[in-house]
Amino acid sequence: MKQGFRQSMAWLHGWAGLVMGWLLFAIAITGTASVFRPEISNWMRPEISAAPDPQKALAAAVEYLKKAAPDAPGWYLTAPDDRAYPVMVAYATKNEKGEGDYVQKALDPLTGRPDGIRDTLGGEFFYRFHFELQMPYPWGRYLASAAAMLMLVALISGIITHRRIFADFFTLRPGKGKRSWLDAHNVMGVLAMPFHLMITFTGILTLVTLTMPWGGVANYGDDIAAFYKDISPGFYSRPRAERPAPLGDIEAMLNDARRRMHGGRIGYANIDNPGDANAVLEVTRHDGDQIAYAAEILAYDGVTGQLLSQYQETRPARKTYDVLYGLHIGRFAPEFSRWLYFLCGLALAATIGTGMVLWSISRTRNRGAGHVLVERLTTGAIGGMPLAVAATFWANRLLPDGMPGRQGLEVDTFFAVWGSAILFGLLRTGRRGWIELMAVTAAAWLLLPAASALTAGRGLLSFPWRGNGLFVCFDLVALALGAIAALICVKVMRAPVMKAGRA
């Protein structure tokens, strides 16, 4: 009976993993990149440097918004910090056709202006793709949720199937074909198991109001606004007075907010009804100050600077959610933990990747068209993903400034390269496909620091390194990833040909 249970779990593990495996690999890779979202954004905007005073930078950005978007119903600002250099601003506007449009811009933290900064999404692209998959709302989020749920199924069935967790804890036997793949799959799955379970579970939770809305629907019916108001009572809103009034001293309000948060950093500053007598400034505490996400909010009268409300989250249910959400995005994590998140994320991606390869090499007998298709799709969809990420960085360095639709072209490059890799993998037989794809990937990552040095002049090849630590670090990671790709290329070339029926 026990044997039967294990076998059915192994069957479940194989199929739950396969169905969304390619997508899960892409989600894992972009999620891992999102650990360093601010750093990647900085790298992709080499024109700007760190701001000495976030409050001054926000105030300068508000001065810019007064001229650039005086009629917008609200301005949404993300404060710079020691990790993210620019002030990110967003506001609603109307395009030439009179349709509603949403503008997002990076502003120089010193001048408060967007001039001379290249048009790019930065690390935001990987972050968005991680849970929206570049699909229209809400379908991408539904698909990502479904993938995460299958991931949880695969993890739990995998733990049950793997009966020698402790005996094989340290076991990795290289150069033994399928045995080695299975060892690698197990070791990377088991050693980072707490992370894998945590990140999958909290990942499902981040989208839970979308996938399981019933609690809210049952209690609030159609009154979604009241539901969100009760979830986040800290947000202060009031209608426009329809009387124009100039904004007060924003910098003074921000400094006051910092004092009231006992020195806590400012994360977001939103201004509702700017230019109106009922303007409101909402200050949200920085996510990096605690594990819980966005736990403290202050609201000021935007004209007089008077404090309207201060809210600190204390309700246990909401706090639990905030902590779980915060654990997922790991923005609280100090430097060492951040690298651990990155490494564990890579381990998860590698577990998925090796799992996909294992699915194919476990089915070498009586292969049908489906088996061949899976094997070849794996080559391009998994092997091509790191290349697509590298290509995005290349596009960021090579596309000329001021080109119309530049940020969209960077994104297009990602999909064009990933798509081409998938097509290439389908046309080339498995082994040669891997070798060639990995060779190109290695070249793309290894040459990226040189391309960056020639076009942006910051990084490993440009002195002095002082003030450019982030760029030097980025180059080192690029070289490391290139080296890994080169290693895989050589290993696959030297590996013995796997014959049908072996292993």
């Binding site: 005996a167 804890f169 340290f170 076991t171 990795l172 290289p174 070791v187 050693l191 980072a192 707490p194 992370f195 594990i291 654990l327 609280f332 994590a333 100090p334 430097e335 060492f336 933990s337 651990l340 998140y341 490494l343 564990c344 381990a347």
Partner: protein
Amino acid sequence: MTASLISLLLALGGFAALSLSMQRHARQAQAPGWLPRRPVLRWIGWGFLASSFIRCIARPDWRLALVEWVGALGLAAGIIVLILIYRPRILPFIPKAAMLLALLAMAAGRL
């Protein structure tokens, strides 16, 4: 940072001892005669891990440290796996070296 380093070193020592307490890996490392017997090694390994845990949560920011510790455990175990593949014979020296370095780091942190 020092506290993280000490936790990581202790975890490394712990996993080295635990792996040596397993017959397969002891053979791989060609375990020398001066090593304690395998059941003792297992106790030493768990002792190392426990002290790594205590060092970690004795910090004022223990909530963050706890998250970090779980990740650090994985990293330490991963390093042991790599050592077992490429340099298995240095394994018997890891617990001692880790303990020494952890004590040094602790002393340096006090200065």
